[in-house]
Symmetry: C2
Amino acid sequence: MSETRTLATYIVESRPGDVPADVQHEARRALVNYVGCALGGAREPAVDIAIRALGPYAGPPTAAILGRPERMDPLHASLMNGISSHVHDFDDTTPKNYGHLTSPVASALCAWASERPTSGQDFVHAFVLGFEASSRVANAVYPSHYDVGWHMTGTAGVFGAAAAIGRLLGLNVQQMVWALGLAATQAAGLREMFGSMGKPFHPGRSAQSGYVAALLAREGFTAGVHGIEGPRGFAAVQAAASDLSRITTRLGEDFDLRANTYKPYPCGIVNHPTIEACIHLHAAHGFSPADIAAVELRVAPLVLDLCNKQNITTGLEGRFSVYHGAAVGLVHGRARLQEYTDATVNDPATRRVRELVRAVGDPGVTEDQSHVTVRLSDGTTREWFVEQSLGNVHRPLSDRQLDAKFRDQATLALPAAQVEQLLERCWVVDTLDTLAPLLDAAVPPPA
Amino acid sequence: MSETRTLATYIVESRPGDVPADVQHEARRALVNYVGCALGGAREPAVDIAIRALGPYAGPPTAAILGRPERMDPLHASLMNGISSHVHDFDDTTPKNYGHLTSPVASALCAWASERPTSGQDFVHAFVLGFEASSRVANAVYPSHYDVGWHMTGTAGVFGAAAAIGRLLGLNVQQMVWALGLAATQAAGLREMFGSMGKPFHPGRSAQSGYVAALLAREGFTAGVHGIEGPRGFAAVQAAASDLSRITTRLGEDFDLRANTYKPYPCGIVNHPTIEACIHLHAAHGFSPADIAAVELRVAPLVLDLCNKQNITTGLEGRFSVYHGAAVGLVHGRARLQEYTDATVNDPATRRVRELVRAVGDPGVTEDQSHVTVRLSDGTTREWFVEQSLGNVHRPLSDRQLDAKFRDQATLALPAAQVEQLLERCWVVDTLDTLAPLLDAAVPPPA
């Protein structure tokens, strides 16, 4: 049986009870993280602009948009959810294929569930299937597909959105094969867009395109039946090398959600161990910013390739500055979205410490490590070494750390009481009779 | 200046008067052919299904759909126009890059112009610019992009739709650069979909995606500014080899519309010289089908690789049967959409002649040639040799032949009187104060 058909059959025939308990919990974690990120990004200009540009063309406003008062049709709501949840590059990462795969799948699912009564069990099950479909397609073409310049989140994400919505639509195997084919033929997204709004557009558009694929297939719109593995299908056309067995091997037994990771800080991941070390020093020693006389970082050489900007003026530049990361850890004791605004980058105390930082590339330090030494004005020094960065697959964020990340972001879009209510509901999403109370809590009250 | 920016600047700064008269006339011909094809395809199941599946999600119904009574928002109307105009594979072809590039551009433009007052001059100018943008991007990546399995009509088409709509939106150069970037990052469409509804989906989706790109760019949604030529842009990612100079060389002087071609028959192009020879024999000799005792074709060997199906039962199979092509020419004296229905394929007289045909591959015969010999029941023979196929770039369809093709298709969707009115308006499209009378005539009267 072809890979497309094998995958389609699995998606159609899987039962919610087939999902192992640990995977079910990882799905909850992914959704907590996703909803938080969508709320954290919901008021960004990219979302404002997209709603303004496309709102006049949207259909009946039956679907909520996370963190926004507006409603749109579910296809446009999928797009907006995808943009908001990826706009800060703060959503999850599957390190084995560099995809950020919750966004395209969950963005479509939230739009679906805000329009149609959907049980938490079905919602989470569809999410697990969609995530797995995306990640397995991504695995099959990684690394050549990624290396040449495709943004996996867009290209692989569309398969997951089609799978998840197709599952909830009750597609049969033939229809699911078509849905995956119509996903394949819309798989797009170039890394050339990085640094622009085009990047968060990718998970949004793939959520929307996957949703369209499933709707069309449901009504009998046909597609080539070898969309993934055919001689002119996704893998052959979009990857110099591929291993299609990675789509089908141990399907239903291995789940890539187990290898999913969540960022603790909204910036380039190579800065994370430095930030963590600086937050530790701040908390452990309680010095004031004015006491800091010098800071030395010993970091992996790659950090200086990617994040060597010291003289910066914008929040966006701050995300790619290991110096700013060190400064916010030492001065503020944390690194939330609020520490990556233009205001914080230009705050005098933060700037002063940032300018005191010297960074040395050391081939003996891994990308998960950082050694930070702070010299205080009394001549004493404090140092800390992070051996393995928080948030990587071997040292995942705890559920409580995900709570904190959620709260930091959700408060940007929602009143405090609503934040707690929403967070509670996210953790029990799979037990809800319907998603409505969760999604109702995820939009701000009327002005 | 980068290729993306050079192209954007040209699209923004070109004036209608800059289009040479012969190119202006070729634009009229392309639009006559396009509107006819959209009407010929408007009642096909692919269009019915797409409207049924996506209609509930469409926005305010401000835009007409060619050949259909329904109205939808212009983004969905673009999609439907793209599907209908390509569903019979009867639209135009640019042989230098194998793109069918009018469909994605004109499908978006017709949706636009049915919503907003648009002069014929601006409409045709935007079409010329959009067609040229698509064709030049296609040229830059041809042949490697096409050979690996991309459907040029989808991948290059999106640039033209973005360019055309962006031009009418009055984008400035920066915005046009973003629109082309947002087009690049949605460029998709796999040849694996050939033989399914996924194929005509491509020009539709690229029309819609290009329209979205232009709307977003207009409101300030940013994109990478090297969408075409960047190291992770369209050309580098989607083609093993490219020649970017083909985008910019003699821009505004050479126009690919001059190299555009129109099919006389709705079937595989390698069958065309055989059909033409058979139609000639039918007209010249007036024999009745019952008089035919045997038919021999001497054709290029490629014909037998592609169209060697003799024992067929469906109209779709008929399109890839040189035997059926010969039979309809000899029996009916023509080869319109009506000759490629299931009914005609199963018509006893047509089937009898189809089964009498023998085809011989001859390396001395080019793909533009066919030698047909008919032996009649009285023992005499009639023969005809087509040296260069009608519809190729050296022997284009005349305007009057385009009229006939238009009428054959338009009568499938519109009352006869309306067909003539519409055809007249299409030939003077560039002189119309507004497109409204043309588009009004392109939809059927209320039931």
